[in-house]
């Protein structure tokens, strides 16, 4: 018996995927990629988005071969039970690890800027509880909360970028191509896994009304995320010289902190804290639910609720594993951003090739 995850529309799917992909703008990624490409980070992310769009086109072809089936079922059909199980398990583990690292990164960053004396356990458990609750309430609920908050998040984000205009200095954009076009291109391709979260749509394929809707949701969410990330990176590049950006743990927060219009409208960072926290809560919950959903589908469980508790403990454990903030940034997060594409992009591409060779296709179109 399959899990009934409910149905949702393209708009909800776009919100789910966009929030999961764009949240990383609030954390250490902008600073990290400035190390590689200088002030051409916004160009690099556009290249990554283009690569992701190309890969997603192939993933769409794969999904089209199996209408109504999710990626876990497609792995099973294409490879058989054993290899399908390995592929699916790796996929589920990747989602859980991404959720855990996002959680740890979020908690560490928020601890640096806001809650210096609060034990990280409390912050981590709070987010884990939110993820557990939303997962218990189901995918439809997650999709709806994403949709509901998406407008607010988007408007607040752009208000922040607009309010920071006095901080922008266009001369900071030069040298225009950063450390060189070749480096931008190479790192753009390597870090295309920054958009790897778009693959959540393949896990929830059964909940969308058809393969055409997945294509629409995937491309729109990739374009939106690219715009959000590129505009953010462009703003940071203009606001600070790239040597400074490399040192900032959370450039968005620093940008918000620098807003000052007279003596009254100043230090608005705590207001934008809401933007940050909401986006992180939703992104972590979605990735966590994705891991739970994949795991349940691998073992063909009819109810995913019993998995949520143990998986929450795993999420907490994985988040607590890195020794310190430096190992989070330079170890785990770096690994996910640099090599995540192997799991999120290469596995589906291999599946497409194998399915084409073995002439596997089929499935039912959703009503």
């Amino acid at each position: 018996m399959e899990i009934n995850e409910g149905k949702f529309g393209v708009q909800e799917a776009v919100c789910l995927a966009t929030i999961s992909m764009s949240t990383k703008i609030f954390f250490t990624s902008p600073a990290f990629l400035t190390n590689y490409v200088g002030n051409a980070g916004w160009q690099m992310t556009i290249i990554s988005a283009i690569i992701s769009i190309i890969v997603f086109s192939f993933v769409y072809i794969l999904l089209k071969r199996f209408p109504g089936k999710d990626i876990i079922q497609i792995y099973d059909i294409s490879f058989g039970r054993l290899i399908g199980f390995i592929f699916s398990f790796v996929f589920a583990a990747a989602f859980l690890e991404t959720a855990a690292m996002l959680l740890r990164e979020f908690v560490d960053v928020i601890k640096v800027y806001v809650f210096r004396e609060t034990p990280p356990d409390i912050l981590i458990w709070t987010v884990v509880i939110a993820a557990v609750l939303s997962s218990f309430l189901g995918l439809e609920t997650l999709a709806r909360i994403s949709k509901l908050t998406a407008y607010i998040l988007l408007v607040t984000y752009f208000i922040l970028l607009l309010l920071a205009i006095p901080q922008y200095n266009p001369t900071n954009l030069f040298p225009f191509f950063g450390y060189g076009i070749d480096k931008t291109l190479i790192h753009g391709i390597r870090r295309s896994s920054a958009y790897g979260e778009v693959m959540i749509l393949t896990v929830f394929a059964g909940s969308l009304q058809g393969t055409g809707y997945i294509k629409k949701a995937g491309f729109i969410s990739l374009i939106f995320s690219c715009l959000i990330l590129a505009l953010g990176l462009l703003a940071f590049s203009m606001a600070y010289p790239y040597e400074t950006t490399q040192e900032l743990i959370a450039p968005v927060y620093v940008l918000a902190r620098g807003i000052k219009y007279g003596t009254f409208f100043q230090r608005l960072d705590p207001i934008f804290l809401f933007l940050w926290i909401f986006a992180s809560h939703i992104a972590i919950s979605i990735l966590f639910y994705c891991a739970v959903s994949c795991y349940s589908k691998i073992f063909r469980l009819s109810d995913l609720r019993p998995i949520i508790g143990p998986m929450a403990v795993l999420l907490y454990t994985l988040a607590m594993l890195p020794r310190d903030f430096t190992s989070v940034i330079e170890g785990n997060v770096h690994a996910i951003r640099e090599y995540g594409w192997v799991i999120f992009y290469v596995l589906p591409l291999i599946t497409l090739i194998v399915a084409a060779i073995r002439k596997k296709k089929g499935g039912t179109q959703n009503a």
Binding site: T126, T263, F278
Partner: protein
């Protein structure tokens, strides 16, 4: 024991329960169709399900009773016929026979006296007399529930006049009386004692005639009731000033007076096993979703309780998620608003005994609308709605944000403001959390006291309130002046919430935000908003997600948060799955379009 069970449930997995709460109003083929298919079948099913419920609720009433000698003889005669019927049918037949009105008038009198517990029960009146001074009969009614004038001055003199039976011939007395004698506007025949008893208890008077197996139920209701007054909880400046009363008939009339259409259907269903409170279900045939109508009927019929007093109790029995804070039905005391709900394709329930109607399904955004929004022009309506949204924000978050800001994020306050807050808090002995909680609880007490207090001593409450929340508390150094302002603005915000149940939910949620703000600052508040948001997203009201048309996105008139011009609102809300989506035609300066050809005609005539 209960703790042990709870602990066990925590650790042991149980399969998800399958129950009817999973009703979902999803897209279907009949959507948009004027004539919903399978309605008759659905009706049939409901009737059957209702029968089953009744049978279940009756329990042992259907058990086989010992027969009397005469009954045994009768049953022996009919043995041959009965052999063909199954036992349950035979049982039902026996029961029906026992309940059938007897030709023997004295037998009927004894049966009814026994059933009503007379003479112990003193307000049941049995009035014996002779029709036309010849035919024995008796009338039964409840003292105080009938219109005495119509019985004393109209019915009894007519029935007791001498020559009244001269033209009867061979016609049945009951039919003759109904057709030619009794001067009552609404009459009907009944053949079962049970039905007669129900009618008598609801205020009708019933006439039993010698030699007839039927009686006449006469509409002579005339009990004391409150007259129609102006609304008490949903006042408007522009618009109708009528509100519902406790009387069901009056309420139905008020709605019918607005919706003058034969498509308006009123189904009456009794709820409450003992008090049989009537629930009227109103909907527009061909507009309301038949599935919602059936679901409402099913839920009301499945109520198993002795007593139903008013719509509030019915609401608690039929709502989808009883553990949630937000109301899942929309209560209103205004007939005009009720009519607009019906026109939008919602189903309205009016219960006897309460001056409120309930509309289902309902969405979150509808709970923030008032009838004033529609009565005023769109810029004013939009302004009022935005003001109300700001009120909602203040009522929910303001104290929590204040606590979080003072305790965790003072850096965001401008230096002057921070200095004045710190200065005002210097003499206050309580920590911020305690200070806010004391003030909020004091305010809630004043509000609750204000509702319960007799109006004669109402002024006292105002003085006490001013002392607690006002200058006296500040002078005593118990609270800071800033907090008094915060609590006052919060109170004003909560008064702006138009729905009372929604207002109560917000009042409770406010405390969650205060505590979360005190423990984790803005992070805590964001956490509570996220969790409450998730829970709210998961609520459904009669199969419709609570946050439609925003999450999930559905087609809707531009009348969700902002109130756009009335001519733009041409569709019924999509989530209600109405059979007829179109609410109005194109009304953009229609008068100008019509006048153009007329002007041309006039010109041409003038030329001639």
């Amino acid at each position: 024991m209960s703790i042990f069970t709870a602990m066990r449930k925590l650790f042991i997995y149980s399969e998800p329960k399958i129950h009817n709460l999973g009703f979902e109003l999803l897209e279907s083929d009949d959507e948009g169709a004027l004539q919903p298919p399978n309605q008759t079948q659905a009706n049939q099913n409901t009737k059957n399900s209702g029968l089953n419920n009744n049978e279940m609720s009756k329990g042992n009433k259907n058990a086989i009773k010992p027969l009397g000698v005469s009954e045994w003889n009768k049953s022996r005669k009919g043995d041959g016929e009965n052999q063909k019927l199954n036992p349950s049918q035979t049982q039902n037949q026996n029961q029906a026979q026992n309940d059938t009105i007897s030709k023997d008038l004295s037998y009927s009198l004894n049966v009814l006296k026994e059933k009503f517990g007379v003479p112990k029960n003193e307000d049941i009146v049995f009035r014996k007399f002779k029709i036309g001074k010849k035919l024995d009969c008796f009338m039964i009614y409840v003292e105080g529930m009938i219109d005495k004038n119509s019985i004393n001055l109209s019915m009894l003199p007519t029935l007791m006049s001498k020559d009244i039976l001269e033209d009867m011939g061979k016609q049945s007395p009951v039919d003759f009386l109904i057709e030619t004698v009794i001067p009552v506007h609404n009459l009907k025949k009944e053949s079962l004692y049970g039905e007669c008893i129900k009618q008598v208890l609801s205020g009708a008077s019933v006439l039993f005639v010698e030699g007839c197996t039927e009686c006449i139920v006469m509409e002579t209701r005339g009990y004391e009731k409150r007259s129609v007054e102006s609304p008490k909880t949903e006042m408007v400046v522009m618009g109708a000033q009528e509100a519902f009363t406790e009387n069901l008939r009056t309420n139905l009339t008020l709605v019918r007076r607005i919706l003058k259409t034969q498509k308006l259907v009123t189904e009456l269903i009794p709820a409450g096993d003992i008090n049989n409170t009537m629930c009227a279900i109103l909907y527009l045939d061909g507009v309301a979703s038949p599935r919602v109508v059936q679901e409402v009927i099913k839920r009301i019929k499945s109520i198993k309780t002795d007593l139903i007093i008013g719509s509030g109790m019915v609401e608690q029995f039929i709502e989808d998620r009883p553990l949630m804070l937000f109301p899942q039905v929309l209560s209103t005391e205004r007939p005009d608003r009720t009519a607009s709900f019906i026109m939008d394709g919602q189903v309205v329930i009016i219960t006897e005994g309460a001056p409120f109607s309930m509309a289902v399904p309902v969405t979150f955004f509808r709970l923030l609308h008032t009838s004033e929004d529609s009565f005023t022009r769109w810029p004013f309506g939009t302004f009022l709605r935005l003001l109300r949204l700001f009120g909602l924000f203040c009522a929910t978050l303001l104290p929590g944000l204040y606590v979080a800001m003072v305790m965790f994020h003072p850096e965001m306050l401008p230096t002057e403001l921070l200095a004045s807050i710190v200065k005002s808090k210097e003499l206050v002995p309580f920590p911020t959390l305690l200070e806010v909680l004391i003030m909020e609880i004091a305010f809630e007490l004043i509000r609750e006291g204000g509702i319960r207090i007799p109006s004669i001593i109402g002024q006292t409450l105002g003085i006490v309130g001013a002392l607690i929340l006002g200058q006296a508390a500040v002078s005593a150094g118990l609270v800071s002046p800033m907090l008094v302002i915060i609590v006052s603005v919060t109170a004003l915000g909560s008064f702006a919430i138009p729905n009372y149940s929604m207002g109560l939910a917000i009042r409770i949620e406010r405390f969650f935000f205060i505590i979360a703000g005190a423990f984790l600052g803005f992070f805590g508040i964001a956490f509570v908003i996220f969790t409450l948001g998730c829970i709210t997203c998961s609520i459904k009201s009669f199969g419709i997600p609570f946050l439609t048309p925003v999450a999930p996105k559905t087609k809707a008139n531009p009348d969700v948060v902002l109130r756009t011009p009335i001519w733009m609102q041409d569709k019924r809300p999509d989530p209600f799955q109405t059979a007829n989506r179109q609410k109005q035609g194109k009304n953009v300066k229609n008068w100008a379009l019509k006048e153009e050809p007329k002007q041309k005609d006039d010109n041409s005539n003038g030329n001639k």
